[in-house]
C-alpha cells in the first residue's frame, strides 16, 4: 500500500492521493509542494525562471522508505505515498506529493507535516533555482 517514487514526469496529485485509501480510513492528507516564482534572499527578491532538481536516486529512495517506516511506527496512519519529481520544473509545477491516509484525520495531518519536514532535512535531493541572470543551489532548511 505504501510507495516511494521518483519521476521526471508531471505528478498528478489525485493519482498519489487515491492510491492510499484503505477501507478502515476516512481521510487522506496530501502535501503538494511546487516552485514559487519569488524568493527572498539577502534582502533582495529573486524571480525564479525555472528549477532543476537533482537526486542521488538510490539513496533518496532508501531515505524516503525509512521516513515511511518511521511515520507508520510513530503515528496512527495506515498508508503513505511519496512521489518526488526531478529534472527541470517550471514555476507552479509540483515537485513533491506526500499523501497520508489514516483512520483519524489528526494523525494524517501530523504525519504528513512531519514527513515533509524530514524529507527536506534528510532525503538527498537538491534544488537549483535558475534566474534570468544566473543560478543558485537552494540552501536546505536544516542539516541532517
Amino acid at each position: 500500500m505504501d510507495f516511494c517514487e521518483m519521476t521526471t514526469e508531471r505528478i498528478d496529485i489525485s493519482s498519489v492521493a487515491r492510491r492510499v485509501v484503505p477501507p478502515e480510513c476516512g481521510a487522506t492528507v496530501t502535501l503538494d509542494g511546487y516552485a514559487r516564482r519569488f524568493t527572498k534572499k539577502d534582502g533582495r527578491v529573486l524571480e525564479t525562471e525555472h528549477l532543476v532538481y537533482e537526486a542521488y536516486p538510490e539513496m533518496a529512495l532508501k531515505e524516503m522508505q525509512k521516513l515511511v517506516a518511521r511515520a507508520k511506527a510513530e503515528f496512527e496512519v495506515s498508508a503513505v505515498g511519496i512521489v518526488h519529481r526531478t529534472g527541470r520544473l517550471e514555476i507552479g509545477e509540483t515537485s513533491v506529493v506526500i499523501s497520508v491516509a489514516a483512520p483519524h484525520r489528526r494523525a494524517a495531518f501530523a504525519a504528513c507535516e512531519w514527513l515533509i519536514k524530514e524529507l527536506k532535512r534528510t532525503v538527498p535531493i537538491w534544488k537549483k533555482e535558475v534566474y534570468a541572470d544566473g543560478e543558485a543551489w537552494a540552501e536546505g532548511e536544516s542539516n541532517a
Binding site: Y56, V123, K127
Partner: protein, 79 residues
C-alpha cells in the same frame, strides 16, 4: 587505496565533475575522505559537507573501503 567519490548538488558544481577518484590510506575513515577532498578542492572548504557510504549517512569515524559507494554533497534541499 583508491576510492571513487560521487558528488551531488553544489558539491558537484564546485569540483566541476559528478565523480572523481581519490587515493586515501588503507582503513581511512569518512573524515579522511573529506579532508583529502578539501585539500584537493579548496573551494569546498566553506561548505558543510555530508558523506554517505553505501547510500547511508556516515559519521566522521565511519570506515571506508575501496569497494564502498562513497558520495559527498552539501545540505539537501528537496521538497
Amino acid at each position: 587505496m583508491r576510492i571513487k567519490v560521487l558528488f551531488f548538488g553544489a558539491a558537484g558544481d564546485i569540483v566541476g565533475k559528478r565523480d572523481d577518484e581519490l587515493d586515501v590510506r588503507e582503513g581511512a575513515a569518512a573524515k579522511d575522505v573529506l579532508d583529502a577532498l578539501a585539500a584537493r578542492f579548496p573551494k569546498l572548504a566553506g561548505h558543510k559537507l555530508h558523506i554517505a557510504v553505501d547510500q547511508e549517512y556516515a559519521s566522521p569515524a565511519t570506515a571506508v573501503h575501496s569497494d564502498n559507494e562513497i558520495a559527498v554533497f552539501t545540505a539537501v534541499s528537496g521538497g
